[in-house]
Symmetry: C2
């Protein structure tokens, strides 16, 4: 077994041993790596008493290594794979979850919001690529025909403009969002809260098959994992972080979908809400969000959504007020990386990291961002400045 | 003819000679009084060429004094009266229009926003009293059944809680607003854009009669004035300024009702918008406002509206964040006037103005504000500190 395989196995085992999102586990992995972290957890070398007990209980159910091996074999038979942060296809935006802080966390699910340790994937798309230009469309399971209509239209329009539509695969708004994107021949990603061998709900089986055929099914949980109630809330943070923004279509008061939107806000993504008739109980959560969250933006259709999610990129509709160029929005690291790219020719991430004075991991993340902003070209893993302006508004016309 | 009668006649003549809202006329009245201003206008002693021509044209149609006398006689036969700023029943909140500044005024109606020179009134209520606790409910004439339902419910609920509902007497949302208030046995005020002898639209005649019987019909225009198109927009500023806040229920893009709401914002009143289905053309204007105007607040029902309009007063629903006392919201003049009220006993406005070091007019305005905030008591035109703190449940229980 190579070192990479060992890391992969350890991450799978860790996800089985503790629920995804557990901050203590994530910190341990960051400190001593996945295999080191796994060994310490198995030894019971964890300061947190509750976590230690939970792990001890889990260990009585099986050997983590054996369970992980079995999960990998099962995934293989299913045509699924496990993706880890070291893989090229890892969707780096989810790493932003390290800085997700929900104000006044009252429940465990609000505190334990670490990035995924691994993602199970089924479908032809490299995960990172499928999610690069993506927007989440979420809402109530008990949607009204109004909500289903809106979600379908919205997703159809976004998919037509080559945005990936991400949702949770549930009844109602989620299913309408996936279907709208599929109808447009676009890419759609369902992020599930259970094993990919048993996508939930069962009655959406045909839909899941279609999604896997043309888009992606994703999950943090290994094959065999059950869709437990609390897992949906844990899962929501991935939908919020993996996308540029989340659109809430219909939600009852305090629904799970409103939680996804609050997470999107907490992690610095665009949060958008479609209003509805005030006479509808299914719009109460949407209106609550628009009243409570200053940064939640009312949207009524595709142009509004594009205006929000395209703000950092190239889809900016009619220019807002004064020209705003992608470059103006770069953080310090990204600006340094961009400045370090030579005037002509391609450069590899390692040399670039050295020139920019940042670590390679940071360089890779920022390169991916700069590329998605249309400022850089990538070829065979190396980068160059994009010579001609990409859009009408001429962002990045260096 | 007494001096007061002369002032009144001059104000009526001025309103006939120039359209209400004309800033130059208002400034002149402020400087030399209504009779002086009228004489100067008749002499053509006006720097503005356009205004001078307009007046000259009007003067060929009749003698302003004779026209004003006739209008007063006509009003008298109709059971209507003219109210001027010197009258006790004058609704002082409309004077806030002196500081209304619409950003980027493009049309005359956006620049000429001076307070009314006089108000024609029909109905038993003293104008100021009827408007003291008032909220405007406005919207589209071509309302949908959704909008009519919402406007009716909202106005019913507000009237039930003893808020006066103000609107423009038009078809659709306006009529629904008046009817909702009437059904609750409450007070409703229609601010018209034509003479009170010919309320428009004619098909609302029975409604206007009901309003006059239990509430008020108001207009800046003398009897006989026609409901010209531009007058509706001039009128809107009065609806915006006379009330504590305006609720927009349904509006197409760029409708007159959205203009009323922007005016409410510009003059420092609460601006509230009821969202609707994004599939409805009649909600486009409402959603535009919620997107464009940071201070426009989404409301879904009576409790939300009470929270907004009661913010300065006593109807604050569940206390927002941290206790906020009426006193904290006073401007400098109001605070000085309040401080000048003696610890015990009543004091008249003149003595109080002297103690506070403000002019009597300012003192009177601030006293009326402080009284409506529940900080002062009034008896026979003199004021005293209200001894016990006023509670949420007992507005106006003096």
């Amino acid at each position: 077994m190579t070192d990479g395989d060992e890391q992969r196995l350890a991450r799978v085992a860790l996800t089985w041993l503790t629920e995804p999102g557990t901050r203590a586990v994530h910190r341990l992995v960051d400190g001593v790596g996945p295999t080191g972290a796994l060994q310490r957890l198995i030894r019971g070398d964890v300061p947190d008493q509750t976590l230690r007990s939970a792990i001890a209980a889990r260990l009585t159910a099986g050997d983590p290594y054996a369970v992980a091996e079995a999960a990998l074999a099962r995934a293989d038979r299913l045509g699924a794979r496990v993706v880890i942060p070291e893989d090229e296809e890892w969707p780096s935006p989810v790493d932003a979850l390290t800085r997700l802080a929900v104000s006044n966390p009252q429940r465990k699910v609000d505190r334990e919001t670490a990035p995924p340790l691994c993602l199970w994937a089924r479908g032809g798309w490299p995960v990172g690529e499928a999610l690069e230009r993506s927007v989440a469309v979420v809402g109530s399971r008990a949607a009204t025909s109004y909500g289903v209509h809106i979600a379908t239209e919205l997703s159809y329009g976004l998919a037509e403009r080559e945005w990936t539509v991400v949702s949770g695969g549930a009844y109602g708004i989620d299913a309408a969002a996936h279907r709208g994107a599929l109808t447009a021949g676009g890419v759609t990603v369902a992020v599930l809260a259970c094993g990919l061998d048993r996508p939930y709900p069962v009655s959406n089986t045909a839909l899941f098959q279609q999604i896997a055929d043309t888009g992606l099914l994703l999950s943090e949980w290994p094959p065999g994992a059950e869709p437990l109630r609390h897992r949906f809330l844990i899962r929501n943070r991935v939908i919020a972080a993996a996308t540029r923004g989340t659109v809430l279509v219909e939600a009852a008061a305090r629904s799970g979908a409103t939680q996804t939107l609050r997470r999107a806000l907490a992690v610095g993504r665009r949060a958008m809400v479609v209003p509805g008739p005030v006479t509808s109980a299914m719009s109460v959560g949407a209106h609550e969000l628009l009243r409570d969250e200053e940064d939640a933006r009312l949207v009524t259709g595709v142009p509004h959504v594009l205006e929000e999610i395209g703000r950092i990129g190239a889809d900016l509709a009619p220019p807002a007020r004064g020209p705003q160029r992608p470059r103006d929005q770069l953080d310090d690291d990204a600006a340094r990386v961009l400045e370090a790219v030579p005037g002509r020719g391609f450069i590899g991430p390692d040399s670039l990291a050295a020139r920019a004075g940042v670590d390679v991991r940071t360089a890779l993340r920022k390169l991916s961002l700069l590329e998605s902003l249309g400022l850089l070209l990538r070829r065979d893993g190396a980068y160059a400045l994009r010579p001609t302006p990409r859009t009408a508004a001429k962002p990045g016309s260096e």
